[in-house]
Amino acid sequence: MNKLKNQINTDDSNVPREDLYEEAKVLFSEGLVQHLKAKGLDVIECQSEGIYINDINGNRFIDCYSAASTYNLGRKNKTVVDSLKSAAKETDCGNFILVSEEKAELSNKLANFIDGDLSCVLFTVVRGEAMDAACKLARGYTGKTGLISVDGGWYGHTGFAMGLSERIDNDRYGRLIPDQSIVEFNNIKAAKKSIENNTAAFILEPLQVEKGCRLVDKDYLLELKEVCEHYGALLIFDETQTGFGRTGHKFVKDYYGVDPDIMLFGEAITTGLFPMTGMVFTPIVKSFFDIHPLIHLCTFGGHDVGCRVACKTLDVYEQICPWIQSNETGSLLLDHLRNIQSLYPDLIRSVSGLGLVNAISFTNEELAQLFCMTARKKGFIVLQGLVARESVVFRPPLTITHDELNRLMELISSTMKAINNSEILI
């Protein structure tokens, strides 16, 4: 019944890295391993700690990816790790259809944590699912079908999320969800033209992390909110990468002073110790779930262990207010990146960001890839944007200290210097 295959002893720290890559080719795909090697991501991760990704060979790298803005409190925050241990000893995922103290407590805590009227919640597991749920809630609540987003968005890999994202592979899976459209980013005329009586929601990331960390204008959001209200369409913000202090504010909506009707959050809610995402929304919109209970189910969503971990993470957020720190360190980093831009105007087209989510946009994709490869050799891991491949995004843990940030900035400078001297450019 069970096949006999070559087992590798993964407890043996002497297993050569190449053997692990060969095994990964067999199990996952050759394409994956080729990609990792080409992008400087051929790191076998182990014992990551604080702001560092560590590998099995004892190398360490400053984590400038943070699992797409997940590790806001650093890798393996001790208080949160302890909460996961104690939760595992006391509870489990729970029967998903039942009420639990864990779900109730987290929902209440989250309502208190988030400023404004977004006091209701649905828990999901992956980011795409949170977006799909938001689109469904918008359609269900409004009774309308139109879903509009802007170019440059990236919302995940599930059905609704894909159609709203700017992806090169969207034509590979047949027709996606109908009545979805994409209009120009930050163009209020384009938004106004698209929103009409059948619009269920207008969806955007006010700060597009994967598109060179570009931001919409405040006036745009204010006017957009008005137009949505006028037509009875919901305004949805995806804050999976900008939430929980990443931008120097609790959420980027606070920076703008514009509250959406639905807001998505990512795994920063557990600072990377438990897979949990979700959406918060206003009590008015929540009436849909009161009338139609259990219409969107998720076995692992609102997992009781995860809820405890998230509660503890929120406690730590409240205690240390990492948005204050990220506001300050983020300004230093952004200034540094702008200085670098002025040094290499031929290589860097723009620098953009807020708090500790910043991007350099190079003049071409190859430079961005070269930067990531070189960075890895210098000692930090950074990734290209998924939409703007010519950009690299810096999103280290918010707990990065001044000394650590200074070290990172030195490494960035030295990486740019190396690129500038690279033979590829000659």
């Binding site: 069970n2 407890d11 109730a104 992956v126 469904k136 609704f160 969800i177 990512g266 189910l297």
Partner: protein, 455 residues
Amino acid sequence: MGTELFSKMRTKKIFKQFGDHISKGQIRYLSAGHLDMLERNRQDVKFSDATTGKTYFDGFSSAGSFNTGRRNTRIIEALCNSLHEYDMGTPLLLSRSKIEFARKLVDLAPGDLNKIVFTGSGADSIEAAIKLAKGATGREEIISMDKAYHGHSGFSLSAGGKDYYKALFQPLMPGFRLAPFGNFEAIKKLASMKTAAILIEPIQGEGGIHVGASKYLQNLRQLCDDLGIVLIFDEIQTGFGRTGRIWFSEYSGVVPDVMALAKSIGGGVYPNAAIVYRDIPKLTEFVNENPFFHTSSGGGTNIACRISSEVIDELLEKQLWKNAEKMGKRLNKGLTEIMLQHPESILEVRGKGLMIGIEYRHEFMGMLMADSLSKSSIFAAYSGNAPQVMRFMLPLTVTEKEIDDFLKKFRKAVTIQGYYLFILRPLIKIPIFRKWVNDPNNLISISSFLRKFGF
């Protein structure tokens, strides 16, 4: 794990918070079936209500998430130990934890299901499976089954077979067609060179525990081979020993092209999920060229892979599927005896291993039985897509003694149900009343009303 009961005030506060921030409707729905308990002392096959202290059999197991038993000590230890080394990890980076689990899973998977994509949940697995099929074949159409349940995100919901979950969110994806489960001729008529995949739960869970016959599944395999269609088995509920075999597909010997997994893979303590697919050029080449065609930040995490490895070790060492087969037979036999004594209530007992469905005579009886069972200390849920069918999915660690005790309690519940029926039977002969009472919303109102008087 405290033994002190929750005060009424604490319980009230929990329900108020849940109602205010999550859903009042859900509380109303659960209360109607006496399912408004708060799980505590979760252990093996049971839990107790934090407010009353009453102990319940977990007959639902979060739709089959607790195959290795609730709060299995070994798995909890694996979770705690993993934390010395790991957190969720970096999605793109490899780790020993990921590679070790991937190896264990493909070794356990049937036939040449040798390749893996990590996902974050059952629905996410279905998203990945459908995308793989569409991408690899370049075709658009997907055939799934009436009453099928595959999840709530875009692709998986489009493949779902129940209107309640879909109607308010239309339009969903075009190109999805439904066929009656078990009817090969119907599928044959729908299948063509435009079909990317046939997606099926080999035992329909939410649809009412319909067991796919071996011949039917073999015919599907042949049809897919003939037309170049990708055959996807959703073994999210049936996998990991639930049906008396490690995979339900072993009964028919059919190896699907893609198998979607979730639920029990996480040992009941941490989310994880995956698809495994056959190492055949069509699929392997597509993934090679598109290694990130589907990624999940919360799927295949380092902690989760450590736990899932332990789940597989536990399953194999304890040979839990064998216990599932033995206990399933005992439970099935006992339930069948009760059915023969109560033909007015129970129409059929069916299933495989510890995935057993009881079909009641009328749709409204699902909710009433959930209520009667709850009063008799069994927590069970009726099927979302077929309310007249109740699913029993006890943890696979259940013992003979516990099965016998469970049957005793079930018998008591059927007796309680008899009282309801005594009142209702004359009324349900009237078509309008029958239609009215079969609507769950009306039942919720009646039940809520009755509860006020202590029922």
